[in-house]
């Protein structure tokens, strides 16, 4: 049995009495720390975003770095995003087939797959895959540059690191996420159809015609373009975590991990808000 003896004044270390810093019970300080740290983090993130926006809108523009990042973030993420989209399409097809057959609604299978993929699974899978691959990559790269003083060296060379390193990465994330989402959607639909066609012969044309029956641009464009917000979140958080890194290899590891964890978390939270807004404004 645990002896829950209350702390009496007499139990307090006499050396603590008379100190200038008031004694704070551990429960209070441990509850206060994370809240203040979180508020500071959001404050610093806001200032960081302001610096990036200021650097991004004033010349000179770093087109060379922008094109390099289009390849690094965009092209090189496509195979992974396509694979994740394809796998999701197959799983959706198998699951939806089983459920809809049970309820006698098998004819709705193409529409169920199409709407699931373009409304939600395509965008969110793309967001999470990119936050894993690109978030970790940007976070680790910038953190490594920070701890080896390469970012200081850029600044010492009279080049604004926000303009050279941060703005192109965030901008490319914003631009590439909707395009990568379209890629994931396409692969998801193709593989969703393939999984269904293996069980029951159905042409791709029939699948698409039946699936998109009753769909309009409001079903495709808002969910696709909401991923631009995911791109902003991934780029911003990964760059921020990388640029504020302290310490050596341990700091780099922490930056990479926190970039992925935080960007994934904020992508999911943003998705909740964005889905609600899309339903409100694009019914």
């Amino acid at each position: 049995m645990i002896d829950a003896k209350p702390i009496a004044i007499a139990d307090i270390d006499p050396s603590l009495i008379g100190r200038k810093t008031p004694f704070v019970p551990p429960t209070v300080s441990s509850a206060k720390g994370p809240i203040i740290e979180s508020l500071e983090w959001f404050g610093d993130l806001g200032l960081f975003l302001w610096q990036v926006v200021r650097a991004a809108v004033t010349p000179p523009y770093e087109f060379r770095e922008l094109f390099r990042q289009l390849d690094e973030i965009g092209s090189k993420s496509l195979p992974l995003v396509a694979l994740a989209g394809a796998a999701t399409g197959v799983v959706l097809s198998l699951e939806a087939r089983y459920s809809l057959t049970r309820f006698g609604a098998k004819s709705l299978l193409p529409a169920a797959i199409v709407f699931s993929v373009i409304h939600e699974t395509g965008p969110i899978i793309t967001g999470l895959v990119v936050s894993g691959r690109v978030g970790a990559g940007i976070g680790a790269e910038l953190a490594s540059m920070k701890v080896t003083e390469q970012i200081d060296a850029i600044e010492a060379s009279s080049v604004n690191p926000y303009r050279l390193l941060v703005a192109p990465r965030i901008l490319v994330c914003i631009l590439m996420l909707p395009l990568l989402t379209l890629g994931a959607d396409l692969c998801g639909l193709v593989m969703g159809w393939a999984a269904q066609a293996l069980v029951e012969p159905l042409s791709f044309h029939q699948f698409i015609t039946s699936g998109f029956k009753g769909a309009d641009f409001n079903d495709l464009l808002p969910p696709t373009f909401k991923t631009a917000v995911f791109g902003l979140i991934i780029g911003l958080i990964a760059c921020f975590q990388g640029m504020r890194t302290k310490g050596g290899a341990e700091g780099v590891g922490r930056a990479a991990t926190s970039s992925v964890v935080l960007s994934s978390l904020f992508v999911i939270l943003a998705d909740v808000v964005l889905v609600k807004l899309i339903i409100m404004f694009f019914p």
Partner: protein, 259 residues
């Protein structure tokens, strides 16, 4: 007892004349509860080399970062060619930095760029009018100056620490600075490489006639390349003067350090 040696120039009392390239006055800097600099004042004139000595963690590197504006002082001022850099916007500091070269402790070469691209980096960003062939010539000239012409196509990870410092020096000299800041130029190098770097710095000083501040804890290197030395301890300048003046000091810390 006075902590400042009577025979040396007292910090803060150096004349602020027109020949002063860098004047640091009463610099204070803290990180959290740690007071790194506690009223440091230094003056470096054109063509002069000042070595800042001190134990590890005495604030030597922080001092250099305050001078180039990578860190902001809590109080005090840094004047470059007479102009106070405190309170300047980033773009204005950028203009001043173009006249300053900085060699980092571990060279801080960009690891995604080759040796040649590292040296070309400042030129690409600030000498837009330069054609690519002119830029290439200038890079080769700088690499030749530091004896690195053979490895220009290599990546920084493929060259030794001494070579990285040479390339870092070439990059620092790319914009023809009139102030050169060197952070531990011989740290981590073997005695032969250290001697080569010292000779190189001396040669560059003669050729370019820059004001230089060398932060080091290598007494031999400081004695070889500097005109004057300043010894930091606990965030303050304990003594400032020539090597001989330091040797004659009866301040205990100075005597301990010179041992």
């Amino acid at each position: 007892m006075d902590t400042i040696d009577q025979i040396a120039v007292k910090p803060g009392e150096a004349d602020v004349d027109s020949s002063a390239a860098v004047v640091a006055e009463d610099l204070h800097k803290s990180f959290g509860s740690q007071h790194v600099l506690d009223g440091v004042s230094l003056t470096v004139r054109r063509g002069e080399t000042l070595a800042v000595l001190g134990r590890s963690g005495s604030g030597k590197s922080v001092l250099l970062k305050l001078i180039i504006g990578l860190e902001k002082p809590d109080s005090g001022s840094v004047r470059i060619h007479g102009g106070d850099i405190a309170g300047l916007a980033l773009d204005q500091i950028g203009e001043i930095r173009k006249k300053m070269g900085f060699l980092f402790q571990h060279a801080a070469l960009y690891d995604s760029l080759t040796v040649e691209q590292n040296v070309a980096f400042p030129l690409q960003h600030h000498k837009k009018a330069m054609s690519s062939s002119e830029r290439e010539d200038r890079v080769r000239q700088l690499l030749a100056e530091v004896g690195m012409l053979d490895g220009f196509e290599k990546m920084p990870s493929d060259i030794s620490g001494g070579m990285q410092k040479r390339v870092g020096l070439a990059r620092a000299l790319a914009l023809e600075p009139d102030i050169l800041l060197l952070d531990e130029p011989t740290a981590g190098l073997d005695p032969i490489s250290s001697a080569e770097i010292n000779d190189l710095i001396l040669k560059l000083q003669e050729e370019h006639h820059m004001a230089s501040i060398v932060v080091t804890h290598d007494l031999h290197s400081a004695k070889t390349i500097a005109d004057r030395l300043a010894l930091l301890n606990k965030g303050t300048v304990v003594i400032e003067g020539s090597f001989e003046q330091l040797q004659e000091s009866d301040v205990e810390f100075v005597r301990e350090f010179l041992k």
